[in-house]
Each structure stands twice: as structure tokens, then as C-alpha cells.
């Protein structure tokens, strides 16, 4: 039992409050903005009291931005769908490729395994812009530019190293004897991987998948350069809110709320796995 004085616990409570305010206030303010018109947002001094309106959300969902001078057609909902589709498929592909690779790197020490693993990690070092120019040319030559397939492939640069390195640590934490015991009891290599290694590394795989999803969802630059309007995710689509006639803050705020909703919900639901998965070993000795 840990003993803490009242003073300490009060201090700790204050520190937590400050941290929560620091991180949550912008999101809270955007949440408020999303229910306001441009006029109430831009008034001086700002005030948290206003008459809420759903116009921002209505125009986003219907795809028609009612500006002060004209009506603009935007594809926010299809951007949202693109984001979802790209992130889910990329993470799925990343897990299918990355988990067996992570297992191989963790269990089978083959020649050059460390070098290959490091090379994969080094993809994360390169500035995306540097990669993008040659990639655009290649993609145009082989017909992958402006396709979902091409984007998902490029997204592997983001998700694969992440999954590989997190999951590898997990597999390394499983005592090899558990797998040996299963194999010697009459099971093949593949069955051991599926029945023993995968379930034991489950929390780690879930955490890696979740993180990879968030990273893929937040990606901007790859999609901006490699995808045209109908394939663009919400991060790129949000640029449409900056129009010639001004910036519609209310609609941007609503757009932000809609676009962070899936990752926010996922993170809330899975935060236990995330914290456990990233901080604890799979099997405690």
C-alpha cells in the first residue's frame, strides 16, 4: 500500500487538472465553435455563451457550403469515407504483412535480420516530401497514381514499421518455451504461431493496429500529392474550407469534430489496451 499525504494528493490533483485543461481545452473550444456561426465565433471578446445551431453540421453532411456570397459544393462526407477506407485497409494490410514479419524477426535469427528490420524502421526517418517526388513519377508511369491501391501501398510506409517494431517486442517477450512445449506436444510451426504466439501477443497487436490507424488517419502529405479529389481523405478535403470568400470557422470546427470522432471513439474504447499494450510485457515472469 502506497502512502501519500493529503498535500501530495492535492498537488497531484492540481497537476492532473492543469494537464487535462492544457490538452482538452482546444478540443473543447472547437467543439463549441462547431455549433456557432462565423459571427458569434469572431465576436470580441469571445464568450462560451451563444445560441447553438446545427447549420455547420447540416451543410457538411448535405455537401453544400452556404457562403456569404455563393453556395459551394464540397465532398466532405466522401472524404470521410475515403479516410475510413484508406486507414482500415492500410492497417489490415499492414497487420497481415507486419505481424508474421515481426514474428520472424523475433524468433528466427537469420542472417541480416537485424539489418532488414532496421531498414524498415528507417522508412520513418526519411522526410515524406523527399520520397514523394520520385514516387509520383513512378506511380504515374506504372498507373498507380490516383488509385486506392497506390495510396494503400504508400501508407505502408507509415503503418508497417510501426506495427513491425511494436509487435516484434511483444513476440520477444513471450517465453520461447511456451511455443516449444506446444510444438513438441505434436503441433506444427504454423499452428503454434496461430494458437500460441498470436493470442499471447494480442494486446500488443491491438495497440500497434490502433496506433497505426491513428497515424494513417492523420496522414496528409501522401494523399495530398498522390490522390485527386475523389480519393482524398478528410485531412486533405478540409482544405476546401479555405475559400476565396473567407474562412468559415464554424464549418471547419464541425469538420474537425466529425473527422476526429472515429479515432477519438476508438481511442476511448481501447485506451486500456493502448496503455497496457505499450507499457507492459505480454507475459509477466
Amino acid at each position: 500500500m502506497q502512502t501519500t499525504s493529503t498535500f501530495e494528493s492535492v498537488l497531484r490533483g492540481m497537476a492532473i487538472t492543469v494537464i487535462i485543461l492544457f490538452f482538452m481545452f482546444p478540443i473543447f473550444w472547437i467543439f463549441l465553435m462547431s455549433f456557432q456561426t462565423n459571427e458569434t465565433i469572431l465576436r470580441v471578446p469571445p464568450s462560451p455563451f451563444f445560441e447553438p445551431t446545427l447549420t455547420n453540421y447540416r451543410s457538411l453532411i448535405s455537401g453544400r457550403l452556404e457562403g456569404s456570397t455563393a453556395t459551394l459544393e464540397i465532398a466532405f462526407m466522401s472524404n470521410l469515407y475515403n479516410s475510413l477506407f484508406l486507414s482500415v485497409t492500410s492497417v489490415t494490410v499492414g497487420l497481415l504483412l507486419g505481424v508474421p514479419a515481426a514474428y520472424a524477426f523475433a524468433r528466427l535469427k537469420f542472417r541480416g535480420s537485424e539489418d532488414i528490420a532496421f531498414t524498415l524502421l528507417s522508412f520513418r526517418f526519411a522526410p515524406p516530401l523527399l520520397v514523394l517526388l520520385p514516387l509520383t513519377i513512378y506511380f504515374q508511369q506504372i498507373g498507380l497514381a490516383d488509385t486506392y491501391g497506390g495510396l494503400i501501398w504508400v501508407y505502408q510506409l507509415i503503418v508497417l514499421p510501426l506495427i513491425l517494431w511494436i509487435v516484434r517486442g511483444y513476440f520477444e517477450d513471450i517465453p520461447a518455451d511456451i511455443e516449444y512445449a506446444y510444438r513438441i506436444a505434436g503441433h506444427g510451426f504454423w499452428a503454434t504461431f496461430r494458437k500460441i504466439a498470436l493470442p499471447l501477443a494480442g494486446p500488443g497487436i491491438a495497440a500497434a493496429g490502433l496506433l497505426a490507424f491513428i497515424f494513417a488517419w492523420n496522414n496528409f502529405i501522401f494523399a495530398l500529392v498522390l490522390a485527386s479529389a475523389d480519393k482524398q481523405p478528410v485531412t486533405v478535403g478540409a482544405l476546401a474550407f479555405i475559400t476565396a470568400s473567407g474562412i468559415n470557422y464554424g464549418q471547419i470546427a464541425a469538420g474537425i469534430m466529425l473527422s476526429i470522432a472515429p479515432t477519438f471513439a476508438l481511442a476511448l474504447y481501447a485506451q486500456r489496451y493502448l496503455v497496457e499494450g505499450l507499457s507492459l510485457g505480454a507475459v509477466k515472469g
Binding site: 517465453p175 516449444y180 510444438r183 513438441i184 503441433h187
Partner: protein, 375 residues
């Protein structure tokens, strides 16, 4: 049906490239007969676990051949070798209970649920784990996990049972009790087992034959009695036996009437010439310098003899271990009474020719045991 259950033929194990990497097992050949219990005994890193893992199929054999029951298995995956193995550390499936862990080993056999339950109960009772059968591995102690792993191995119907330090984490009383039970269980069923251990008491108690390993090499493969009585070399002599054998370098000189062994510190051991065989005398003359070994319990304290000074005297409850300065080195002797000796006390010791082990100082190989030439 052949009587040979396991045969290792010139097996080498390298970690890393062959001939360049770490040479963990060197040119190991040994044959295990059906129904035998064998102990691989050695200190950490001597290659005993590598050997076991090559037999199990978790480590590739770098060179040589392994066969079980006449069937070459060293290239087969573990699943096809039909061996059972008990593990030293954490090897239980964490997601199922201890009972399921043990029963699991039988799932692939054709047993009814009732049979499986009966078998699990029997082996659990033998290993004193009946009370924890419905617990999960994470909530039981290391010793209990070890016994569960042992149960999971012993319950199977395999050609060969590999036991990797199966009792390392048990309390001494339980260890003694289980040793007897496990041996009886294996012997009753005529199973063939290989035990890896660094505990010589365990090897002596369980094994029919002990393979002493050091630095990847098999030093001696013989019954516990033979290893005690006739250690093949200096390593086996000093490694097996508790407390360890006393060793002293000696120079030999043989006259018409006496065989004299001169130790450092002006200690001279003289024996009548007929205490040693003629061949041994010739050999000792040839050698000139030898290494003398004597077991602590064979050192006799007498009225007259070579002088020694007591350094320490420990009463262990059933025997006294006396350490003394002797022949510019140290000597340990064991007595079964509670000896009243104090520090710095002068004593006289006598070494019987029949208790002497003589080794070649260059090769370490045994020359004679009890005044009889080896080989």
C-alpha cells in the same frame, strides 16, 4: 525391436556459422538404451541443454546424426519426433488452467474424457499438484509451474522423455520425495528419459548412467558408481563428488622397497612397493610428475602421518567438513562424527594407496584408481 532408443553420432553444434561460430557441442557420440534414465551433468554453458534441444528439435544439428528408435530424426520438425519434454522455466499456456495444460498433451491421443481425467489426476497426485489443477499458470509459484510442466511431459506416450532441470525450483524436501516417485514412475512404465541437470545429487539419485559434459565435450559416460570410483579424468574427478576431490601435484620416485610421492611443502607419502602393481610402478617412473587425487571422505586422520593444520571445522548436522592446510595447498576431509578440532590445531593425515586417483598432469586423463592402472 532394437534396444537402442537414442543414438547420437558425432554431433556438433555451432551457434553461428559452422566452424566459425561458438562451438557449443563437440563431436558428441552416445547411445541410450531403451528403459534407461540418463543424466546430462555439467555446469552452465557446458552444452547439455544444447544437446537436449537438438534431440527435441529446437536447435538445428550442425553436423552429425541423431536417431530415436533406429529412425533418423535430426532433420525432422519437433512434431514428428515423438518426444516429450519438461521445461525448466515458464512454459505453460497462460490462457488455460493447469489441468488443461496437462490434459492438453493427451488431446491428440485417442483417449476418452474419463481416461484423460483419470490420468491427469494420477500424475498430479504423484507430483503433489492436485490442489492447483484448476488454477491458472500466472497464479501459481515457479516450483508448481515446473511440476505442471513435468506432469505435462510424463503423461504423454512418447519414445523419449526429455527433462530440462525439472526440479530446479523445488524445495529440498519436496525434491527428495519427488525424485523417488518420478524414478519409480519412469521405471514402472519402462520409459527412456534424459535428464539435464547441474545438480549431481539429482543425477546420482535418478540416473542409471551419467554423461558428464564440460566445454561442449563428453568427459565421461558411466554409472554414478563408476564415475565416483573411476573418474576418467581430472575434470570428472573434481566435478563429481561433494565436497570435491582434493588434488595435489606430486613427483614420483620408486626404489626397491618404497613408492614415494613427493608433494609440495616437503610432504612425502611413502608406501611399500607392493601396494602398487608393477605396471603402475613402471608408468609412474615414466611420468615422473603426476596429479594426485583423493576424496575428502577417504582422507584418514591418524596418530602418525603427514602434517596438516586445521583451518576450519564445520559440523553440517550429520558430518564434519574439516579444511586444513596441507602440502602447500588445502585439503578437505569429511568425518561422520562431530569432530572436536579447532583452528590452527595440528593433525596427521594418512592417504591409503587404494584411495588414490592418479592423473596425467598434461592431459588430465586418469592413470590409476586405487593403485590399479586404468584400461
Amino acid at each position: 525391436m532394437s534396444d537402442v532408443m537414442l543414438n547420437l553420432d558425432a554431433v556438433d553444434k555451432f551457434y553461428g556459422p559452422i566452424d566459425k561460430g561458438v562451438h557449443a557441442v563437440r563431436n558428441l557420440s552416445m547411445t541410450v538404451t531403451r528403459g534407461e534414465i540418463i543424466a546430462l551433468l555439467g555446469s552452465s554453458g557446458c552444452g547439455k541443454t544444447s544437446t537436449l534441444r537438438m534431440v527435441a528439435g529446437f536447435e538445428a544439428v550442425s553436423r552429425g546424426r541423431i536417431s530415436i528408435g533406429g529412425r533418423e530424426i535430426h532433420t525432422l520438425p519437433p512434431v514428428q519426433r515423438n518426444v516429450a519434454m519438461a521445461f525448466e522455466g515458464y512454459s505453460l499456456y497462460p490462457t488455460v488452467t493447469v489441468r488443461d495444460n496437462i490434459a492438453f498433451a493427451l488431446k491428440r491421443g485417442n483417449f476418452s474424457a474419463v481416461d484423460v481425467a483419470a490420468k491427469v489426476d494420477e500424475v498430479a497426485e504423484m507430483l503433489e499438484i492436485s490442489a492447483i489443477l484448476d488454477k491458472y499458470p500466472s497464479s501459481i509459484s515457479g516450483g508448481q509451474q515446473q511440476r505442471a510442466s513435468l506432469a505435462r511431459a510424463l503423461i504423454r506416450d512418447a519414445d523419449l522423455y526429455l527433462l530440462d532441470e525439472p526440479m530446479g525450483q523445488l524445495e529440498p524436501q519436496l525434491r527428495t520425495l519427488l525424485r523417488g516417485r518420478i524414478k519409480a514412475y519412469i521405471k514402472e512404465r519402462g520409459l527412456t528419459a534424459i535428464l539435464v541437470t547441474h545438480d549431481q545429487t539429482e543425477a546420482n539419485a535418478l540416473a542409471d548412467r551419467i554423461a558428464v559434459m564440460e566445454d561442449g565435450e563428453l568427459q565421461q559416460f558411466a554409472s554414478p558408481e563408476d564415475i565416483k570410483k573411476s573418474p576418467a579424468n581430472l575434470f570428472t574427478g573434481t566435478f563429481v563428488g561433494e565436497p570435491p576431490m582434493n588434488v595435489f601435484p606430486a613427483r614420483t620416485s620408486i626404489s626397491e622397497t618404497t613408492v614415494s610421492l613427493r608433494l609440495d611443502g616437503d610432504v612425502e607419502l611413502s608406501y611399500p612397493v607392493d601396494a602398487f602393481s608393477a605396471e603402475l610402478r613402471t608408468r609412474l617412473t615414466e611420468m615422473g610428475e603426476v596429479v594426485l587425487g583423493v576424496r575428502p571422505y577417504a582422507v584418514q586422520r591418524r596418530e602418525t602421518g603427514s602434517p596438516a593444520t586445521v583451518v576450519a571445522n564445520q559440523w553440517l548436522g550429520d558430518q564434519s567438513h574439516i579444511a586444513a592446510n596441507f602440502a602447500a595447498g588445502s585439503l578437505v576431509l569429511v568425518e561422520h562424527d562431530r569432530t572436536q578440532l579447532v583452528e590452527d590445531q595440528q593433525i596427521a593425515v594418512h592417504l591409503e594407496p587404494s584411495d588414490l586417483h592418479i592423473f596425467n598432469p598434461k592431459t588430465g586423463m586418469a592413470i590409476s584408481h586405487g593403485a590399479r592402472l586404468v584400461g
